[in-house]
């Protein structure tokens, strides 16, 4: 187990700054996911933690010790890459034992560690099989075995499931998280897949253009996105935004959208006349005949249990997640009700969320 701390880490490649001052702390035993679109700087951040890149500025602390300038080999960290590579001419036992043999561990100890690792991964019955004949899942488990057999302080994983099909990925997510708990590991995991992040993480850091936009538990990030970027990146479909022009006062509990007052969580700040975006998640939208917020249905996507209905209003497009049983007619005009306690309000210029009762009164 380890605690990893990044202090204002930055990395430039020539004139391009990939990481622009990232501060974050990964607690002992935490499963920490860095999530973001391609090019957001998440892989560079991970490579700096591993010692594969030297930061341009800032410090990296591993269990309180400054390791910023230490090479990868001097940090007790295992790195798992996107494509698991096994040695095809070796059997499972030899593959898992490889990192220990490289470090000249005594034979009996290698044997014990390999067998214990195989038991953890439930592949102990496969130890003497050649890797060529294994199923995809077992090959992944062998590759993981090779990463964990050394029992490093921390695991850094760069989209280890990226190459798998969705069904199998879901299964491996569960296994990885369970393994993390069983061996009491500290894991930093990188992905662009929000479902993976949501399913596995204790904490998620969302990165965008070299900066951390928000750090929080999956539920916090989903329910209280700190910015429009986060709100739009998380959720499938993402949060919908209604454009509003308003001046706001601390204590306000509603906002006028196209003349219709919409109830929202109590506001904790004053704002002069300006552009705002009222954010609502699809499951918090329902049809309500009497509502003065009206729009026209332009599409419905059938998803089995639910359907996603897209409605255009004068202030923007709203997506609603409704039961598949409810009848929706394309072209029809409907009234929309938004669940008041779940609405976010953003400054449309800066993209930052306004402080409100929903956001627990954080002052940004």
């Amino acid at each position: 187990m380890a605690e990893i701390k990044l202090e204002t880490i930055a990395k430039a490649f020539g004139s391009f700054t990939a990481v622009k001052g990232v501060d974050l702390k990964v607690d002992h035993g935490s499963f920490f996911v860095i999530l973001g679109p391609s090019g957001c700087g998440k892989t560079t951040t991970l490579r700096m933690m591993a010692g594969l890149e030297l930061p341009t500025s800032g410090r990296i602390l591993l269990d309180g010790e400054d390791v910023t300038a230490l090479p990868a080999s001097a940090r007790d960290i295992a790195f798992v890459f996107q494509l698991f590579a096994l040695y095809p001419h070796m059997n499972v036992r030899q593959n898992i034992a490889f990192p220990l043999r490289c470090q000249n561990y005594p034979r009996p100890e290698i044997r014990r560690s390999v067998e214990e690792t195989a038991r953890l991964l439930r592949i102990d019955h496969l130890l003497d099989r050649r890797v060529g004949g294994l199923s995809g899942g077992d090959r992944q488990r062998v590759a993981l075995g090779r990463a964990i057999v050394r029992r490093p302080k921390a695991f850094l994983m760069d989209e280890p499931l990226g190459a798998l099909d969705s069904e199998f990925r879901r299964l491996m997510c569960g296994e990885l998280r369970e393994l993390h708990d069983r061996i009491d590991a500290t894991t930093v995991y990188i992905t662009h897949d929000q479902l993976e992040a949501m399913a596995m993480a204790d904490q998620i850091a969302i990165m965008n253009q070299g900066r951390v936009e928000q750090i929080g538990t999956p539920q916090e990030i989903y329910d209280r996105p700190a910015s429009m970027f986060v709100a739009d990146f998380i959720g499938a479909p993402p949060m919908s935004f209604l454009a509003v022009q308003a001046s706001l006062k601390r204590g306000d509990r509603s906002i006028k959208v196209d003349g219709a007052p919409i109830e929202m969580p109590q506001l904790f700040e004053d704002r002069a006349e300006g552009s705002f975006a009222l954010g609502v998640r699809p499951e918090n939208v329902s049809f309500a005949d009497g509502s003065s917020l009206r729009g026209r249905v332009i599409g419905a996507e059938y998803l089995g249990t639910t359907q996603i209905v897209t409605v255009t209003t004068a202030n923007g497009q709203i997506k609603a997640r409704l039961p598949s049983g409810s009848t929706v007619r394309i072209g029809e005009t409907v009234g929309l009700a938004l669940r008041p306690d779940k609405l976010s309000l953003f400054d449309a210029v800066s993209g930052q969320a306004l402080s409100s009762a929903l956001y627990g009164g954080h002052h940004g």
């Binding site: 391609s38 099909d165 662009h192 929000q194 999956p218 993402p238 699809p282 059938y302 639910t306």
Partner: protein, 344 residues
């Protein structure tokens, strides 16, 4: 008339039967999605239609013409692969124009220009026509790759997981765009994926494949609501359908039923005492847009979609009610699968 028809087609590679006795027809203007896990035979099916593989038996027809023995170039199809393959040294415009400049076509530059312009507008990449193909984002490159197939007007487009290399957000956007374009142009598409969301949101009809065979073909709603087997029921729906032994439901189920399939819409959870079986909330999994409630019913676990207005937490005791669940027999076939709830 069917644009594409496969009649009892089989294809083996050595001892592996990749496609077994497959018959399928795709109508003009129809969007058919073949759904199945890796190794189900989906890609082989596409390759057989394209002429990249020859069937061991059976025949392939395109627009009523038997093409089984024709080479790919003679068949009127366009193939879009998973990995975009663009000419890196050419501009977006030249990449799109390339298929039209083939000597076999002899299309004049004016017609080519009009066609490229039209397709690039459809794909919202008209402002990138002058860019080098390598100076595009992943999503734009894949749009160009799709566009290169669309500039031609073949009888059918064959698409092999064209969106799977893109990130989730982009995939969702292109999914909607592809469906819109298909509707606007009235094109015929046979599309292969292992992603059930792509299948449900884009397909007019879904063909579920397993081990080389087509095991059910129907509209997304038919496949979801009236699967002919427990296997098919497990292909669609998130969370995955719960399959529990019939004994747990006592004598409320028909006698030949061995397994009961329960989806979220079949399960009613009430926090007050009810007549139904008691269960315990094991944990609530927050997946963002959908939160899954894991319930313990005797020794079995059930996973259902959380109702946003019914807050449940680990440890809660609840009572369950089941509304028209799916019933499966010993062999996994759905009881009353043929016309049970009235076939549309």
């Amino acid at each position: 008339m069917a644009e594409v028809a496969l009649l009892d087609v089989s294809k083996s590679y050595g001892a592996v039967e990749a496609v077994r006795g497959l018959s399928l027809s795709v109508a003009h203007g129809e969007f058919v999605v073949l759904l199945g896990p890796t190794g189900a035979g989906k890609t082989t099916t596409l390759r057989l239609i394209a002429g990249l593989e020859r069937p061991d038996q059976g025949s392939v027809m395109i627009q009523g013409r038997v093409v089984t023995n024709e080479v790919p170039a003679e068949r009127d199809v366009a193939f879009v692969f998973q990995q975009y393959s663009l000419y890196p040294h050419l501009s977006v415009y030249d990449n799109l124009a390339f298929p039209l400049r083939s000597p076999a076509r002899r299309m004049d530059e004016k017609t080519i220009r009009r066609r490229v312009q039209q397709i690039s507008e459809l794909l919202h990449i008209e402002h990138k026509l002058g860019n080098r193909a390598t100076a595009l984002s992943g999503g734009e490159m894949q749009r160009v790759a799709i566009g290169r197939a669309l500039v031609r007007e073949p009888a059918v487009y064959l698409m092999d997981e064209p969106l799977s290399s893109l990130d989730a957000k982009l995939r969702a956007e292109l999914r909607l765009e592809l469906k819109r374009i298909q509707r606007e142009l009235g094109t015929t598409i046979l599309y292969v994926t292992h992603d059930q969301i792509e299948a449900m949101t884009m397909a007019d009809r879904i063909g579920v494949m397993s081990e080389g065979a087509l095991i059910q073909l129907g509209t997304p709603r038919e496949i979801y609501e009236r699967p002919n087997s427990a296997y098919v029921a497990g292909r669609l729906g998130t969370p995955v359908i719960n399959l529990i032994p019939a004994e747990l439901l006592g004598d409320t189920v028909p006698p030949q039923v061995r397994t009961v399939g329960l989806r979220t819409e079949h399960i009613r959870i009430s926090t007050s005492d009810g007549p139904g079986p008691r269960a315990q909330v094991h944990w609530v999994e927050h997946l963002g847009d959908q939160n899954h409630v894991h319930l313990k019913l005797a020794t079995h676990s059930l996973v259902t979609l959380a109702d946003p207005v019914q807050p449940l937490k680990a440890g809660d005791q609840v009572s369950l009610e089941f509304d028209q669940p799916l019933y499966f027999d010993q062999a996994g076939n759905r009881v009353g699968a043929d016309g049970w709830r009235g076939h549309a």
